[in-house]
């Protein structure tokens, strides 16, 4: 019915949770599912209900789903400005936090313990939550610096550093020890635009936040129309040296964490690249695009390999292709 907004795989790889623009997260057993989607129709997809029973009238969408490292909890960020934690053993929502002043587009566990959460929102703020002291729904800390809504957050995994992607066309690197207890000064509003159907205003490219608490800013990619995702590269093969991100200008960008340089741009896709993933051990990246392709990039390969995707196979939309086929028939 609606777009799948996020997926999460449990640490033991038995369960796949996926969310959509509704208050329910669905869970399916990965090991028993066939690859073809029609088999999924017959699978039992358990629903985890996140809305309040009291308020049947109100409904919200979920933008972010994550399993805890022990696989016992699921945390979600939703369009009701809230973070919810679902306890899978108790089969109910155990934590509800009215976290932000706008949609919570990203939420993730900070480290292995599951005590710390990072959240990012369309209110331009990243917040740190300590579940051991959630007094009066106040965050452990706030990080200011972004000029527009946050689209994604990825933790370095050490409970200390994370990166956020933002509609102000930047990725920022944060140290949670630099967070402040409250927001200093008034939140700046430099420009008025909607990233879903407008290009980023030129005069906004050089604006800076007066209270920027970030360690570093990475520029060059484009964040338009959808919640584009960025990640640290894997520990095993790169020592987390890089940040890689999808982009609405149809490239995968790879930045060097230390220098801020754009190290590589992966170019083939014909439409927005919303998500990409770097294999934890092998030298492989897979990118997913609105052109309908999942594409695989490798560190080595024969230049004459005939199975490589060519420009002839490029397209901007899977629908345009289907439509053309109908006309030909």
């Amino acid at each position: 019915q609606w777009t799948v907004s996020d997926i999460a795989l449990s640490p033991d790889q038995q369960l796949l949770a996926y969310s959509s623009l509704s208050p329910t997260v669905h869970i399916v057993n990965v090991q028993s599912s066939a690859k073809e989607s029609q088999a999924n129709v017959t699978e039992i997809h358990d629903g985890l209900e996140f809305s309040n029973d009291d308020d049947d009238e109100y409904s919200f969408g979920i933008f972010s789903v994550k399993f805890s490292k022990d696989g016992q909890e699921i945390v979600v960020g939703n369009s009701d400005r809230s973070i919810n934690v679902y306890d899978l053993r108790a089969n109910k929502v155990s934590v509800r936090i009215r976290a932000h002043a706008a949609d919570v587009n990203a939420v993730t566990f900070a480290d292995e313990s599951g005590n710390l959460l990072y959240s990012g929102s369309d209110d331009n703020l990243c917040k740190v939550w300590d579940r051991r002291c959630l007094a009066r729904e106040k965050p452990a800390g706030v990080l200011t610096g972004h000029l527009d809504g946050i689209t994604f957050i990825d933790s370095r995994g050490d409970g200390r550093y994370f990166i956020s992607n933002c509609k102000d066309q930047t990725i920022k690197l944060w140290d949670v020890r630099k967070m402040s207890a409250s927001i200093k000064g008034r939140q700046p509003r430099f420009f008025d635009w909607d990233y879903r159907w407008m290009s980023f205003p030129l005069e906004a490219r050089h604006c800076k936040h007066p209270n920027d608490q970030s360690l570093a800013t990475y520029r060059g990619h484009s964040v338009l129309r959808t919640l584009i995702r960025c990640y640290f590269s894997p520990v095993y093969s790169t020592g987390q040296r890089y940040i890689y991100t999808g982009s609405s200008d149809e490239y995968v960008y790879i930045y060097d964490v230390v220098t801020g340089d754009i190290v590589e741009k992966l170019s083939w896709h014909g439409s927005i690249i919303r998500d990409c993933t770097w294999h934890p051990y092998n030298l492989t990246i897979v990118s997913s695009s609105w052109d309908g392709y999942l594409a695989r990039w490798e560190a080595s390969g024969d230049e004459d390999d005939l199975s490589v995707l060519t420009e002839n196979e490029q397209r901007t939309s899977p629908y345009r292709q289907s439509y053309t086929r109908h006309l030909l028939l």
């Binding site: 987390q240 340089d261 439409s271 934890p280 030298l283 990246i285 560190a299 490589v308 899977p318």
Partner: protein, 120 residues
């Protein structure tokens, strides 16, 4: 006989300002995260010293391999940081190959934690 690796004790990290347009923002980068990242992705000072490579000089893969063969680290193999450094020249940028060709937009692609599954 236990081998002890010398660790970096608070020496300064020299920032590489090879991208002037980002200089203002990156000159403020925290020493610690830069240092931590270098520790996990660049050869240690002992390796550099044994290969006669200065602090900022690029070390070729050949030199890394010859250093390993002469056992300059004392452990007879690459450290994980050495591996990461050697792989700097081998990022996954070739291709692409087709994993799937769908009749709708692809919103998500994620590997599982052990890399055995791809969800998209």
């Amino acid at each position: 006989m236990g081998w002890k690796r010398k660790t970096h004790h608070g020496g300064s990290c020299h920032q590489q300002q090879s991208c002037p347009s980002h200089g203002n923002e990156l000159s403020a980068i925290d020493e610690e995260v830069s240092h931590l990242t270098r520790l996990k992705s660049e050869p240690c000072e002992r390796t550099r010293a044994s290969l006669h490579a200065g602090k900022k000089r690029h070390i070729s893969t050949f030199k890394l391999l010859s250093g390993r063969e002469s056992n300059c680290l004392g452990i007879g193999r690459f450290s994980s940081a050495d591996c990461s450094y050697a792989l700097r020249k081998h990022l996954p940028v070739k291709g692409p190959w087709c994993v799937d060709d769908m009749d709708s937009e692809a919103y998500i692609s994620q590997f599982s934690a052990d890399g055995s599954l791809l969800i998209g």
